[in-house]
């Protein structure tokens, strides 16, 4: 602990925040040293995003104090934060999609010089160095909607830098990035750190934290469970701080796809083309977990849209025995009715079965849901509680419950563990194995390669809408998959 005496740059003491009767933060404390990368960890609902938003001035705290370099400060609005040099990159990147990159940087920016008159040439001159710093070499007059998610994130960081941020809060920045974009982000973080920018890195991901963070503060139930020096700790220690108990990462019990030659496939796609897919062919068998790897925008989600009829198939054929369920990528935008209850969300897709002449049979509705909830280890204050009150993990389980009630023969899971806590991830991995064991065909899209390697029998890699490679799980490695996904080696494709 040689550097304990380093001055604390930003200090938040006894921060409290309540939403109605729920205490999101209960006297949580956090301190950040100049020039460090400090991880803010915790399960979903632990309060880390709330703390980040309080530091960024977008959520007011109910109690506690914040000081910057020893002087007490008041951060009542994002503008206050900007004046103090605090910038934030939210998980759901807060951009104006129809405005240009330059306009997104300039808007609300106290550092963009004087006046109401925004000349394009001045915008370009103002933005260029910051776009350059983050490695976004694009026309600043493109609309932000034209960027990929990774590029949008860089744009938000460029905006924060242009506001002269000395403290940068990153809220789960890699939750929607594939590894190459994440690599670029890590390199950028290292550069920023070397320039003296302090970074608060909100994340669940152990490997990232051990790679790039100097210290880690763990929140549990809205309070600070501990702050540790990352080089002197272990993942097990951090997990213990997060959940208050040790967790085992279960290894994948591999089922053998060897005896499948004689079997009829559950789903066959041959030369499938849509607006976003080109000549994709594969089979899916009963009880198989088929992994889909690829960068964001490579066609992973487009495959789900094609299989479920959301996107029109322009050529090629798709045959499948049985219904296809789709767990969408973004549970808030595409999955849940946030104002409706847990019960209503879960049974939404099977109301036909749970009703007679249009009348909902409410007893059966509850009695059918109960075993599914137990199976998912889904916990909620009550079945009538709005899903908006649940943690991310439990929200995802509500969506899974919707499909389990439907019991489709084929289930397409689009990044099901994105942004959810470790315990819920474990529950979802366990469920995937259980479903495969009873013969459901599963297609699992994931941004996390270790997850694919652990859960799947075979892995397909997509690149720009095409099938770049296919691997049996036994022969796949992170490196091989990455190479195929980024098309580093054109000869990576190997039939299996």
């Amino acid at each position: 602990m040689h550097n304990v005496s380093l001055p604390e740059h930003l200090q938040a003491v006894a921060i409290t925040k309540r939403y109605g009767g729920v205490c999101a933060l209960n006297a949580a404390s956090f301190s950040l040293r100049a020039g460090e990368v400090h991880a803010l960890m915790g399960e979903n609902g632990a309060g880390k995003s709330t703390l980040a938003r309080i530091l960024a001035g977008s959520t007011p705290a109910d109690g506690g104090s914040i000081s910057l370099d020893g002087a007490p400060v008041r951060i009542a609005s994002p503008l206050d934060a900007q004046r103090l040099g605090i910038g934030i990159v939210y998980q759901e990147l807060d951009l104006f999609p129809h405005l240009t990159l330059a306009e997104n940087i300039v808007i609300g920016n106290l550092h963009f010089p004087e006046g109401q008159w925004i000349a394009p040439s001045r915008m370009r001159a103002f933005c260029a160095p910051f776009l350059d710093q983050v490695g976004l070499h694009m026309d600043p007059f493109l609309p932000a909607a034209a960027l990929s998610i990774g590029q949008r994130q860089l744009l938000v960081i460029a905006r924060a830098l242009s506001m002269d941020a000395r403290i940068l809060l990153l809220d789960e920045p890699t939750s929607s990035l594939f590894d190459d974009a994440a690599e670029r982000l890590f390199a950028l973080i290292a550069t920023l750190k070397s320039r003296g920018v302090s970074i608060v890195y909100v994340s669940h991901k152990m490997d990232e934290i051990f790679r790039i963070c100097d210290r880690a503060t763990v929140l549990r139930d809205g309070a600070t469970a501990g702050t540790v020096e990352v080089p002197h700790t272990t993942p097990a220690e951090l997990i213990r701080l997060m959940v208050g108990r040790e967790l085992q990462l279960a290894p994948r019990g591999m089922s053998s796809p060897a005896s499948r030659n004689s079997e009829e496939p559950l789903l066959t796609a041959s030369n499938l083309c849509t607006a976003k897919l080109k000549n994709v062919s594969f089979d899916l068998y009963r009880g198989e977990v088929l992994g889909i790897a690829g960068l964001v925008g490579s066609g992973r989600s487009a495959l789900g849209a094609a299989l479920t009829g959301m996107d029109r198939i322009t050529s090629g054929t798709l045959t499948h025995a049985g219904a296809i369920g789709l767990l969408p990528e973004d549970r808030r935008l595409q999955g849940l009715m946030m104002r409706m209850s847990v019960l209503e969300n879960a049974t939404l897709a099977v109301l036909g079965r749970l009703s007679r002449f249009g009348w909902i049979r409410r007893q059966e509705e509850q009695s059918e849901l109960a075993p599914v909830m137990r199976r998912l280890a889904l916990t909620c204050p009550s079945l009538a509680a709005p899903v908006s009150q649940l943690s991310g993990g439990n929200q995802q389980k509500v969506l899974l419950a919707r499909w389990l009630l439907r019991n489709p023969a084929i289930l397409f899971l689009d990044d099901p563990t994105r942004g959810i806590d470790i315990a819920a991830k474990q529950d979802i991995y366990r469920l995937i194995q259980e479903l495969a064991a009873v013969g459901t065909g599963l297609i699992l899209v994931s941004s996390e390669l270790p997850e694919l390697l652990r859960c799947c029998d075979r892995i397909l890699v997509l690149h720009e809408g095409r099938l770049a490679a296919r691997f049996a799980a036994a022969e796949a490695t992170q490196e091989k998959i990455m190479n195929a996904a980024t098309n580093v080696a054109a000869n990576a494709a190997q039939p299996c």
């Binding site: 595409q334 999955g335 104002r339 409706m340 009348w359």
Partner: protein, 321 residues
């Protein structure tokens, strides 16, 4: 996020607001010759219910439309259309049964609602625009059918007069509102359709992914709006003894006001029939109270404006995300 069971709290707020308004109405009520408060007289209280019944019925179906994330601006015109069709059937010898005339008016209005729904659901044009167009078009249709003349229903002994006598009874009007309210509450709370209405308004994209029948849900909501408005039109014709192609102007705004005062989110997904009923009663009691006290009707509008904004401000979602 984390609105811990706010909906019941909001419901309590609305009831408290209504109770407070009732108390105020009692306190400032002028007194009759015998010293009793006029506001509390049975005749006055039932007058309030009768006066709110037409807007009340329309606002019930408007609740469904708004819950889907839509809006129906055409209800005032559809009401006029309904009065015109009813009066034409009753006075021009098309039928000898009043039921046929009523059925024709309601069916015609339902058809107009169906048309709204089909256009909205199949073209994807915003409901505001589609129903704005039909607000204009259906008004034109009503005026064209009647040559822009009121069709008077007499006080004699003919079919039309019998119809008017029967359907302007206070008990019939209030009973129709009560029935419509009971049906609406049950449909929203207990049926698959009601669940789908809220789901579509809450998150249409998620409804698509869940495989819900989005189009037919929307069509049914607008159809219901036409149906209920048609019924309100029949009551209007009886009450006013005429088919009037200029009836119902600005009714859509009163109905929308009752719905939003009742706590239904204008962008859909959240709201209730009980809230709409309370919203309707708040507006009705307020009007009655002000008129009993001889408040100028222009001032009345200004007070209503303040009430609408206050009611919505108090109930707004304290959304932190």
């Amino acid at each position: 996020m984390l609105m811990l069971h706010l909906p019941p709290l909001k419901k309590a707020q609305r009831l408290v607001a209504l109770a407070a308004l009732l108390l105020l109405a009692v306190l400032i009520s002028p007194t009759a010759a015998d010293g009793s408060r006029i506001f509390l007289q049975a005749g006055n209280l039932t007058d309030i219910l009768r006066q709110v019944s037409l807007i009340g019925i329309i606002s019930l179906s408007m609740t469904f439309v708004i819950l889907t994330g839509g809006i129906d601006l055409s209800v005032g015109s559809i009401l006029a259309f309904s009065t015109a069709v009813a009066a034409m059937f009753l006075t021009r010898g098309y039928t000898t049964h009043m039921a046929v005339a009523i059925a024709a008016a309601v069916a015609a209005s339902t058809l107009a609602g169906l048309l709204n729904g089909v256009v909205i659901a199949t073209t994807g044009i915003q409901p505001f625009i589609v129903t704005l167009a039909s607000m204009i078009g259906v008004r034109g249709l009503a005026k064209w059918l009647t040559s822009n003349q009121n069709i008077d229903i007499g006080f004699g002994r003919d079919l039309a007069a019998e119809f008017a006598a029967a359907f302007r009874e206070k008990a019939v009007v209030i009973g129709a509102y009560a029935l419509a309210a009971a049906v609406s509450w049950t449909v929203l709370a207990r049926t698959v359709f009601g669940r789908h209405v809220r789901a579509v308004g809450d998150n249409e994209k998620a409804a698509l992914y869940a495989g819900l029948p989005i189009r037919s849900t929307k069509i049914a909501a607008y159809l219901l709006s036409g149906l209920f408005t048609g019924c309100a039109g029949v009551l209007y014709a009886a009450e006013n003894h005429q088919g009037n192609p200029n009836a119902g102007v600005a009714y859509e705004l009163d109905a929308i006001a009752a719905v939003v005062i009742g706590g239904t989110r204008l962008s859909g997904g959240q709201g209730s029939i009980s809230g709409t009923i309370i919203g309707t009663l708040i507006m009705g009691v307020l009007t009655n109270m002000l008129r009993l006290n001889n408040v100028d009707s222009n001032v009345e509008m200004m007070i209503k404006a303040v009430i609408i904004v206050l009611a919505v401000a108090v109930q707004r979602e304290r959304n932190t995300n």
